[in-house]
Amino acid sequence: MTAGAIISAIIIAAILIGGFAFCFSRLGKGGKWED
């Protein structure tokens, strides 16, 4: 693999992990699973 491909993969993975980290850090802050 070229350096460009490796760096791309790392950046994309970091963005996705960051997105998940934000979502999971907010879990349960607002809604409750009930009527």
């Binding site: 693999m1 791309s8 699973w33 009527d35």
Partner: protein
């Protein structure tokens, strides 16, 4: 009349996994990696992530949020906004129904290949790799010379299609709770299989080199319209929006439950699945290039050609455990497709029908399965692939995008984007600001219509789609207009049960 409780998900995880299962599908494997390769490699993720934030996640919040607000499927949602808008809920129901009639046939092909991979029925070595195309088109599909030559059904595929619909019925007749549980297992199984395929792919000779085509960035592509078209269209197709089902899934969410965070998690999961599936695909493509000593433009790297020709060709050449790789890959396709298929049938068709007409849900499920199977027979004939391609263009491209654009316009301008935002913010983990209103009112519809015009009308009005005869290409418009007319007809029909009734 006594108020009947709305069906509910068993919890947050079953709901999110059901939504993820509906979003991830065959396109994650055979479209996203190809688009990345075609549009600047790793750079493709820039417009894709932007599109995810300005188009995908806001649109998903609309469908989840409106479903929860009205506690109805798509037609009930738009009838709730105003009786004259109910057709806008029925149009995507037809879209979902028709998509599922051929989507399940592709799932049947996947099952066929999962079984035939046990013996690598198309052959091993160089000879097998070269025979993979003929095996698919001549042996499996027995493809005729054009859409005008239908021929008899291919009985093996027809039998597998029947099996798929029986399995779908067994999941759906028990409702949202069973769908949630099955989704958890199937989505996780698909992820495990993708992980196994990645490990096998990158350990093959040439596998890692194939990833350069997928990921190496080319920043010169960023200024091209094509990359933005590719990103926006993939987001629109991949998240299973515009197919009525997400309204129904949202309607089974508890009234105090989160909407925005669930939409974000679903969207990120879908993107992650696509991203990692690209490793499984392009490592195999790299291996095949090296094994056959051919350039990448001689290998099908997208759609059916990737799944049913290139991948089997690679399986023929894999030095050890090739049958196992084949079984894992096609089982993965089966899981990805299956979770989307019951989403389309249950959320897209069954819940809307039961909502409006008050029919018995089990009987409705039976009849939807039977009707879908009967229509699906068309695609099992020898000319079925051509019809699949034409109907796909009509409903999965035009139908999905146009109904999605109109739905966002009506929600944004008639129902009120602010009203919906305040509704979801009341109970959601992530509060969205006033900027979201303008995404729904202007940006999302504009982006969807951009895809329709740039990728659709610009080509299909200039010349017949894919070079088909004019009569066959015209079916695209006939189906599109026909489903619109039927949507108005259903709007005019009277429900059997009073409003507020539930399905059981």
């Amino acid at each position: 009349m006594a108020e009947v409780k709305r069906e509910r998900w068993a919890g947050r995880a079953p709901f999110i996994f059901a939504a993820i299962g509906s979003a991830i599908g065959l396109g994650n494997v055979w479209r996203f990696p190809y688009l990345s390769y075609q549009n600047g490699g790793g750079v493709f993720l820039i417009p894709y992530i932007i599109g995810l934030f300005v188009l995908g996640i806001p649109w998903m919040m609309v469908e989840f949020g409106m479903g929860r607000y009205f506690q109805k499927g798509a037609p009930g949602v738009f009838a709730g906004i105003g009786k004259k808008w109910e057709w806008l809920g029925w149009w995507p129901v037809f879209v979902a129904f028709l998509i599922n009639t051929y989507y399940t046939v592709v799932i049947a092909w996947s099952l066929h290949y999962a079984l035939s991979s046990l013996t690598v029925a198309w052959g091993t070595g160089q000879a097998g790799a070269k025979a993979a195309g003929d095996y698919f088109f001549k042996s499996v599909l027995q493809l005729s010379d054009g859409p005008g030559t239908l021929g008899a059904p291919v009985w093996g595929i027809l039998g597998l299609l029947l099996l798929v619909w029986v399995l779908l019925y067994l999941v759906m007749y028990r409702g949202a709770k069973a769908i949630g549980t099955v989704s958890i297992w199937m989505v996780i199984a698909a992820w495990v299989l993708i992980a196994a395929l990645i490990i096998r792919g990158i350990t093959l000779p040439g596998g890692a080199d194939g990833l350069n085509f997928y990921l190496a960035p080319d920043f010169s592509d960023l200024g091209k319209v094509e990359i933005w078209f590719g990103a926006f269209s993939q987001i629109a197709f991949s998240l299973s929006l515009g197919m009525a089902g997400m309204f129904a899934y949202g309607s089974c969410v508890a009234r105090k439950a989160d909407v925005t965070n669930s939409a974000a998690i679903t969207s990120f999961s879908d993107t992650s699945t696509s991203f990692f599936a690209g490793f499984a695909v392009f490592s195999i493509v790299g291996f095949l290039m090296q094994a056959l000593n051919v350039p990448i433009d001689k290998i099908a790297v997208r759609s059916l050609g990737l799944a049913f020709v290139s991948y089997p060709a690679a399986i023929s050449m894999i030095p050890g455990g090739n049958a196992l790789v084949g079984v894992l890959f096609f089982l993965c396709l089966f899981f990805l497709g299956f979770t989307s298929a019951y989403f389309l049938a249950y959320g897209g068709v069954i819940i809307p029908l039961v909502d409006k007409y008050g029919w018995n849900k089990t009987k409705t499920t039976v009849w939807v399965c039977v009707a879908s199977f009967v229509v699906g027979i068309l695609y099992t004939t020898k000319g079925g692939l051509y019809w699949l391609d034409i109907i796909d263009r009509s409903v999965s491209f035009y139908g999905l995008l146009i109904t999605g654009a109109f739905a966002c316009l009506v929600v944004g301008w008639v129902f009120g984007a602010k009203k919906l935002r305040e509704h979801v913010n009341e109970t959601s983990d992530i509060r969205v600001g006033a900027w979201w209103d303008w995404l729904i009112k202007i940006v999302v519809p504009a982006a969807l219509l951009f895809v329709v015009i740039y990728g659709g009308f610009r080509n299909d009005l200039a010349k017949p789609y894919e070079g088909y005869p004019m009569w066959a290409a015209s079916i695209i418009w006939v189906v599109l207009v026909g489903t619109l007319i039927f949507s108005f007809i259903l709007q005019g029909t009277k429900p059997k049960a009073p409003k507020g009734g539930e399905q059981k």
